[in-house]
Structures are given as structure tokens and as C-alpha cells.
Symmetry: C2
């Protein structure tokens, strides 16, 4: 069954492959990818067989072919267009983040309500929030990144969903709930860090279960 974890592993294999390719590797073995993704070799082979990818036990997989096949599965042989709302510190960092472009993802524009931040001539244009609906409609964008303060997050998510956005990567520190047919992926940096701190403190005290 194709589930979220399986797709996350495919992304990781693809990232590892892109790096191996940059270093001049032509062949790769399931053990290499297992290592890079932090799973077992048999997990790699299981994932691949799910998508009908076959290798040669002795010869391994061809790096180029494997990258193309995974990109095909991830629907990424064409550039994936996304829109960002919120050009604050997190939003600005995401605009500069090299990893997205390497992965074939392009932030087409950012949107904000603060007139000072508007800059239609930037590498990635920063536009007034009122233009969001028309922009994403015109460019057939269905995935958005939400990076606004907590107090605005729910309202902005409604604007996104009302404009036809079907997937939201949410950096605001509140849990957004999806609407029918909308997928929300909440990333809460504070919660992630708190969690780490808790277990570091706990392991010093007790050796608590992780």
C-alpha cells in the first residue's frame, strides 16, 4: 500500500540519488539508499517492488534511470509550482531555500498584507494578498505554503482553500484542520524542539522510552 511514509522514503532515496549522481556515481545498490534514508535494504527493495522498479542484484540500479522513475512516481518530471503566503522571517528563508529548486519545486510568488514587503520585481515576486486568488487560478497552483503568524493562520488557510489550494504546508504554530479534499501538513518548529528537549532531559533522569 502506498502511504505517507513510503512516499517520504522515495523522496529521501531521490535526494540521495541526486547527490550520488553529482559525485559521478553511475550505479547504486539498495544498501547505499538504505544507508542514506536510514532504513534497511529490504525496505528499499520492498518500496521499489511496490512501484514495479526492478534492479539487478549484482549490478545494482542505474542512477539516472532510478532518478527518472522516482521523479515520475512523485509526479515531478514537470516543475511543481507552489505559492507562499507570509513574507516574514520563515517565509523569506523559504524563498532563499535552495533545496526546493534542486527538487524541482518552484515558489512562483509570495503574498503578504504588509505594503512594505510587496516587491513584484523580486526574483520571486512578492504580491499583495488580494492578488492570491487570481494568481493561483491563472497558474493552476494547487499547493501552498502558509507562513503567517498564528492569529492570522486560520483566516489565511480559508483564503487558500477558497482559491482552490488542495495542499497546505503550514508553518504557523497552530494545528490547522483540513477541509474536504484538502491535505494539511503542519510543521510546528516549537513543538519539534520542545519534544527534543523533553527527551534529552528525560534520558538524563530516567532513560525513558522513546
Amino acid at each position: 500500500m502506498v502511504n505517507k511514509k513510503c512516499i517520504i522514503r522515495l523522496s529521501r532515496y531521490k535526494n540521495a540519488l541526486t547527490r550520488l549522481k553529482a559525485f559521478g556515481f553511475v550505479k547504486v545498490f539498495s544498501g547505499n539508499l538504505a544507508d542514506a534514508a536510514g532504513v534497511t535494504s529490504s525496505q528499499v527493495r520492498k518500496d521499489f517492488s511496490l512501484f514495479g522498479i526492478t534492479g539487478n542484484r549484482r549490478g545494482g540500479y542505474n542512477v539516472d534511470e532510478l532518478i527518472n522513475r522516482i521523479l515520475e512516481i512523485l509526479g515531478k518530471n514537470e516543475i511543481q509550482k507552489v505559492a507562499l503566503i507570509g513574507a516574514g522571517s520563515i517565509g523569506t528563508a523559504l524563498l532563499k531555500y535552495k533545496g526546493f529548486e534542486m527538487g524541482g519545486i518552484k515558489i512562483m510568488a509570495a503574498f503578504d498584507i504588509d505594503p512594505i514587503k510587496i516587491n513584484p520585481n523580486a526574483d520571486t515576486p512578492i504580491l499583495p494578498l488580494e492578488e492570491f486568488h487570481d494568481f493561483v487560478t491563472k497558474h493552476s497552483i494547487r499547493v501552498g505554503i502558509l507562513a503567517v503568524p498564528d492569529i492570522a493562520a486560520h483566516h489565511v488557510s480559508e483564503i487558500m482553500i477558497g482559491s482552490g489550494i488542495q495542499g497546505i504546508l503550514n508553518f504557523a504554530p497552530i494545528q490547522l484542520r483540513g477541509a474536504e479534499g484538502v491535505i494539511i501538513n503542519n510543521i510546528n518548529l516549537e513543538v519539534e524542539l520542545e519534544n527534543l528537549i523533553y527527551f534529552v532531559n528525560a534520558s538524563e533522569k530516567t532513560g525513558i522510552t522513546r
Copy 2:
């Protein structure tokens, strides 16, 4: 059993409580917290009973008492000190991120190898990487944030672990593996976004299982 998901929920309850308190609420019910954290009321009560927190079915929980109790469990009645390595775009955004301070987490200093970025007089000092070991030893810091490019990530994680860091929040787009007694929490923004894109595309085509 206290596991990672349970602690993540406690963090979310605490964040919701902090907001309710800011709006003047004195009492809260398990249903309010369930709503804010995206779980069921019975889950909230189960989590609380695990830590011996009891409410009054009709009167609910006192917001202040509940915040204090959760902070105590999360080990956060004192400020949690962390150190950041990498003052690039993600690192700089994290330095400006308000959520940490609200949650009692303080980034004590950032470290970088780029002389241009060094600024010991900034609000959060930005220091040369060579000073990392002495700094974290002096300030008893055991949790670090890693925000350097992929190619440097493994080397930098070794410096952190060699300096006594026991928990790493890793933003570099490679999977870091922990050493004995070190907890690593990998946040890969590209993988998260790719995952979302995959399922948005897939649900348009097939209605695939998430």
C-alpha cells in the same frame, strides 16, 4: 507509556492553553484542548491521567494550573538553552522566530564558519564555529539546532556530539543518524513539501490512501 507522540500532544495542549490564557480564559475543558490539538477528548483525558493530572468533569481544568503542570512535565519551568550552528537563511529565520521564546526556549548563540556573519554584539551573538565547544560547555547546553548545507551536516553533527550535545534538531536535507545517547530529530522541508505535492496529485488522479 510516555512516547514521542504523547509529548508532542502535551506541547500542543500547552500552546493552546497559552493562547486561551492570553484571551482571558480561566477554565478549559478537555474538548477545547482536543479541538486545538486535533485529537479526541478522551485522548486528552488519557494523556492527562498518565501524568496524574485530574480535572473536574463539570468545572474543567484551571488554565494557569494546567499550564504550570505541563511546563513542569516538559521540564520547562526554567528557560531551556539551545545553540544554533549555521547562520544562513534558515538559521537566521530561526533566530527571528518568536515561537521559541514564547515557549521558554532561548537560542543562546549562533555559530558559523563565515567571517562575514560573525557578530558577537547581535541580540543573539553569532560566533565562530571554533568557539562552539567552549560555549556550550560553559553554558551547559545539551540541545543544538543544525542549519548548515547538506555537505557540511555530518561533520558539524560530529562537532556537536563531541561537544556534549545530546539532542539535535537537524534542518540539513540529509538524514543524520544519532550516536549512542544522542537524539536526532530530522526536519526535511523539501521532503515534507514533496510529500504534500504527491498526495495532492494522487488524490486528483485516484483517491490514493493516505
